[in-house]
Subunit: 322 residues, 2 copies
């Protein structure tokens, strides 16, 4: 089975977490050495890693911290709480606190009974990672089953390997499919990551400007939309990369089913309760580190927008556990 | 009154037509010398000039051709017809034939009566240019009247100076306004031209990614949309820069009035009858002449899309005459 490097974008080399630098794709496949928690926060904030890659870094950051406490010393609740706080503050839209809260809970329980928290925390992190891997693979299989031969699929941003893997699986099942990927300005994740991994997976892919979505639908060139989600609310609303909302409105207008890959979440009741991160205007004003636009101009760049559940035809969710 | 360089982006220097190179803005304000008809076709095809600038070049191309015929020789119908054919073939979506057809008609009439066509063609072109200037200034005045104090206007691509001039006029009328400009990928006319000229006109402007339109509307940050049109149909449908259609659908969804600057046209019955130019995929795949994306990937880039008249709240049209 084809596995995209974006599906599991980090791995350990001894005590260093090697994190795929997603900003260098497709030019280079390079891993950044992450040795301590501040490095972990840094790769998240600067979006060197993103989407699922961030969750891997969040979970593994606890291991990084514990590696710095000598085997003879105790890992304390304080260590774990400090790591959690740093991670929670890194990006507002992401529910990192839902994950870190569980780890802190495990540490509190161990700490209350006087035990070293190292063992229970390590076991919990490992369990999470193994479980989430299996559940994501199951989501890929479900998505592959939702894809029919002859489908022309529109996608936005990047779904961390799952769409490319589902397409490869569907292709192996004898289904002939084609994908249209939006550029996804300003970061161009669609053009750089999605186009690249679909090519790697041997799936025909066509790049379109974000402006061409209405045209594509009006010309009946796509019959299905697949997007991921960065966060889900209890009512089924999701937050995803900015632009998802307008694609969903257009898909609804044209009666094109929208499939969202989601995660269960009951921490926020609805989309309006999810804080939307405002990224730096410079991320719109600069392009490949070059300033493109006049100085003194303002820019508005919400990192995400909310797709209300009414616009989602089918949600393929990851089963509970994380 | 403030006049944007984009409102009238070419002028004569002796027998050379100097055409503003809109692809270099905002870095440079540079004019390209256009000495013969093939140069004129070239600046149109390569989009060095665009929108209204193209019509100026189309009309003036006849003068360029006649300048090459010595004053002692006759300008023939054949000269005029050849110019018209070259111009008509340059960009499919634009109704250049509607303009060149009139010029050819004038030449035919003069030719039939045995006269030199030089005089009648020159007079017709000059008359057109003077007339269209007055009518466009009137459209600017009408647009300024449609702008209210407190308006937050979203615009897409570039309306050849008219929006910037109307905003400057509205500001002089004491109205406080703000404009949001989309980037308008792949050519970035919004970011490069619209942002620049609004800054020149002293109007607060905020740049947004094309993906942020849905967000802007959902957050109630804009209350009016103003776009131009590259072509109008008899039923009121318009063709405009790709992305206009999806903005119109979203504006309708949020009950935000969309104002379109249009021209009268009865040559095509409806939007579906307007041919849509497919630009080169390279224009999506390259960015500032640098290849951004993997080789071997396809791209889909319709230059325009159609906004159906049902989605246009108010059309400010240029009065007949061209």
């Amino acid at each position: 089975m084809y596995e995209s490097p974006l599906f599991w974008p980090s791995h350990w080399e001894d005590k260093t977490l090697m994190v795929l630098d997603e900003t260098l794709i497709p030019s280079k496949l390079k891993y950044i050495p992450v040795r301590k928690v501040s490095d972990a926060v840094d790769v998240i904030k600067t979006m060197k890693t993103r989407a699922f890659g961030q969750f891997l870094v969040v979970l593994n950051a606890f291991i990084l911290e514990m590696n710095h406490v000598s085997a003879k010393s105790k890992v304390t609740l304080k260590h774990i709480e400090t790591v959690a706080q740093l991670l929670n503050a890194s990006r507002p839209t992401f529910p990192f606190a839902e994950v870190t809260g569980i780890i802190v809970g495990v540490a509190q329980k161990a700490s209350a009974s006087g035990a070293d928290v190292r063992g229970p925390v390590t076991k919990t992190v490992d369990g999470f990672l193994q479980g989430i891997r299996q559940r994501r693979l199951e989501r890929v299989r479900q998505l592959a089953l939702s894809i029919q031969g002859g489908d022309n699929i529109l996608t936005h941003c990047n779904v961390s390997g799952e769409l490319a893997m589902a397409c490869a699986m569907a292709k192996a099942q004898g289904k002939k499919i084609k994908v249209f990927a939006t550029e996804t300005r300003p970061y161009l994740q669609g053009a750089k990551l999605t186009v690249w991994e679909l090519q790697e997976a041997g799936i025909p892919v066509t790049l379109v400007a974000d402006n061409a979505v209405g045209s594509l639908m009006a010309e009946k060139l796509v019959n299905k939309v697949v997007i991921g989600s960065d966060r889900s609310a209890a009512n089924g609303d999701i937050a995803n990369k900015v632009g998802s909302y307008q694609i969903a409105v257009l898909a609804h207008e044209f009666d094109i089913p929208l499939i969202a890959l989601t995660q269960p979440s009951n921490k926020v009741p609805a989309g309006k309760d999810m804080p939307i991160e405002q990224r730096s205007p410079l991320e719109v004003l600069l392009y490949e580190r070059k300033r493109l636009f006049p100085s003194g101009v303002e820019a508005y760049y919400p990192g995400f927008d909310v797709v209300p559940h009414q616009l989602i035809k089918k949600a393929i969710t990851i089963h509970a556990g994380l």
